[in-house]
Amino acid sequence: MKRRRWIQHATVIGWGGPASGLLGAQGFATPGLGAPGDGRPAIVGSTVKATSRGGVDEPNPVPFDDWPAEIRDPIHRWTQGRPVVCQGLWLDLPELVDNGNDVALQLRAEPGAGTNGCFIERVTVWAPRNPHPLVLEAEFTRHLPRAELMTRIRLASSQRVFALARASDGRMFCAHRSVLVALAACIEG
């Protein structure tokens, strides 16, 4: 309980609160975690809009200006200006990391992202507060049964990590997650 309270009050550089894993219907504005009204900036451009019938529509694309300034232009180049929606991608990182030199990362495309004969062909991971924000770029092929990878990355400070995926039909998906880093990587010695 003490740890949870500490995490809630810790300052996280970047967007929102400490944890917002699976996006789907949540978008960047995770309720209670960086949502409007809690005094912290939040992205509202990708929140889900309810239809008049009470159903749920596709989430809105993330507005260009809502990306962190450090990665706004590279992401625009990578997406070639196509709209990015925060769904279809699942990013898992620990909430609290003792050592930023070794952070386990798991990334998985949701089954719905690769339907109708298309598949997830490329995935990137971005850490805006790293000296080199682009962390990795993975390429999947049709021969793989699923677009999923696990690896280990470095984080220079507490920040929100972003993952973007491009489907073979050109659709773009994103996910993000905040990580608190106790011992920073990259800038030491």
């Binding site: 924000p133 021969h143 030491e188």
Partner: protein
């Protein structure tokens, strides 16, 4: 291979593989992955020395590729999933700074 020391590679797959079953393939290679943002004991900036690309090829061609950046941890490992239908050999290939290149192959026995 341009480096003098042969890098240690570990490939982990299930010992028993049934045809058509999705299996995890975990690949790791020993490498310091010096990001170029760290100083040595004398306070001098260390030159960047990282792996830059990893490819896994199967009988069908390229299966999986990874472009690595300085933000990858040392001794980079990656796990991805395959669905082997029969016996196959995975051709693993790494490239890195300063002309680093290494190849490794791993046999998947499907029974």
């Amino acid at each position: 291979m341009s480096t003098a020391i042969r890098p240690v590679v570990r490939v982990q797959t299930p010992p028993v593989i049934s045809p058509g079953v999705v299996i995890p393939v975990r690949v790791a290679i020993a490498h310091p992955m010096i990001s170029g943002h760290q100083n040595d004991e004398q306070g001098r900036r260390q030159a960047r020395n990282i792996l830059t690309r990893f490819e896994c090829h199967g009988p069908q061609g390229l299966l999986f590729a990874l472009d690595l950046q300085p933000g990858m941890a040392a001794t980079p490992s990656v796990q991805f999933w395959l669905k082997p239908e029969g016996r196959m050999t995975l051709q693993l290939h790494w490239w890195g700074d300063h002309g680093f290149e290494h190849r490794h192959h791993h046999e998947l026995v499907v029974s």
